[in-house]
Symmetry: C2
Subunit: 251 residues, 2 copies
DNA sequence: AACACGTTGTGCGATATGTGAACAAAAGTC
DNA sequence: GACTTTTGTTCACATATCGCACAACGTGTT
């Protein structure tokens, strides 16, 4: 790509949008400048552009994103047949299992939820389509990473900020690589409270007709309700069935 | 705002992202140019920028959005306390009602789902946070429009593309304005299969401490399951309770 | 093979944008 | 209240971007 094929003003604008993350719903120009590393004058122009287009509001001091910004992300969700196709199967799965069921895809070192069917709320985490979790310590993440060539999976781990969320969290890249091999061999991954104490989950891959792993689905259950060791016996048949149906539907 | 405070390259890029809508997950340069009305050279630079930043993929012919694009919209959902606060109450509401419960805000002529708790799937529409529906024919839309000054509500209707989705759909702006007045007076809105045959719903407003309507919550049920006329009796107490709790929590 | 058609890629002049510095206005600090 | 520090805004200018016109390519038709 030639240098001139890049619109830096656009890139800076996107960076500005991403500055609104996590706990920061209101940003002043100076704050946005610090978070993005862009010049105050530049970030100001980006923010005013967002406001002018209705993607943000400006009260003279702080900028806030408006719901219109969801159009950008939603273009992906509605343009991708995957979530739409998966959702009904996920709902059925969730109902039969009596627990939350989710689907996600890999984006770099993170998994991104693309669909979710919730039964009762048992998790403290609030997950909706678009939510992200680190791949290395999530059941669907393990499955998705196992679907990559070993060198790529290793590269993802190298880029990940690995930390022990709980005493159970596997943090050694080599241990994780071994785990990936096992997941690949057995076709599913189980997480025993590695992300959050009290939460277990089991995931299987969703493949396209060429055998490539394009997504993962999982069932999450409270550790108090079922031991991680019993999850395969209890939920794997359901997951396998859903997996099989989706394989027939997806192309 | 001065002319020079507007970054047109950014605005054009955002327009390009929005071109990926509905059924178009793959766009060629020429298609994107037609959809946006932007010059091919311009749209090409925007798309290449998106690809360079990892928001899109390019196979030499078609561009596809990647899950990374969800970060943009997700900044809003996670940065806004509203969905996070509402979600648990919505889950509880959904469980007690035995039907889907949702929350949405107004964006122009549309309502945007910000949270959702699904029980069983009964609707043919696939709704997730970020999904949009026309405000005039949705129960939450009626509530949200009723919260506006009459002149504004009328202006929204004027900008809406009103069409009869079902034989029940109210399409006359004056009839709708009368309906808004009733909704405002009684504090809730009921939709009897105006959006889709077989689907009824009831909604109430969520107000901040200054009494402004900032969102709406609803319960949807199949018409085969309960007559629209009976919805208020059955579900209004639950909605009122949730509304009351949220009023205490929100500031 | 020559043609029309629709597509993507590129050179270039006119124009809009980014930058950092300078200034003004608030907001803290003592 | 005088001081420093932070923030928002403006400016001038070097430079990157826009949109046009044209070239190059592929595809299917006659």
């Amino acid at each position: 790509m030639r240098e001139t094929d890049f619109v830096s003003g656009f890139a800076k604008g996107l960076k500005t949008i991403e500055a609104f993350g996590e706990t920061r719903q209101r940003l002043s120009i100076a704050e946005a400048s610090k978070l993005t590393g862009l010049d105050r004058a530049t970030v100001r122009r980006s923010l005013l552009t967002l406001a002018e287009l209705g993607y943000a509001e400006y009260d003279g001091k702080f900028f806030t994103l408006t719901p219109k910004i969801l159009r950008l992300g939603h273009a992906y969700l509605s343009a991708t047949p995957l979530p739409t196709i998966i959702q009904p199967y996920l709902d059925q799965l969730s109902e039969r299992a009596g627990h939350n069921a989710s689907a996600s895809v890999l984006d770099g070192t993170e998994i991104v939820y693309i669909a979710r069917a919730s039964q009762r709320r048992v998790m403290s985490i609030n997950l909706t389509p678009g939510s992200r979790l680190p791949a290395y310590c999530a059941s669907m993440g393990r499955v998705l990473l196992s679907g990559l060539p070993e060198s790529e999976a290793r590269a993802v781990l190298a880029r990940s900020e690995i930390k022990a969320n709980t005493p159970n969290t596997k943090t050694d890249p080599e241990v994780l690589m071994v785990e990936f091999r096992r997941v690949r061999a057995q076709g599913y991954a189980i997480i025993d409270q590695e992300l959050e104490i009290g939460l277990c989950s089991i995931a299987v891959p969703i493949e396209n007709d060429r055998g490539q792993t394009i997504a993962a689905i999982n069932i999450g259950a409270p550790a108090a309700y079922i031991a991680a060791a019993d999850m395969a016996e209890r939920y794997l048949p359901l997951l396998r069935e859903t997996q099989k149906m989706l394989r027939l539907v997806l192309r």
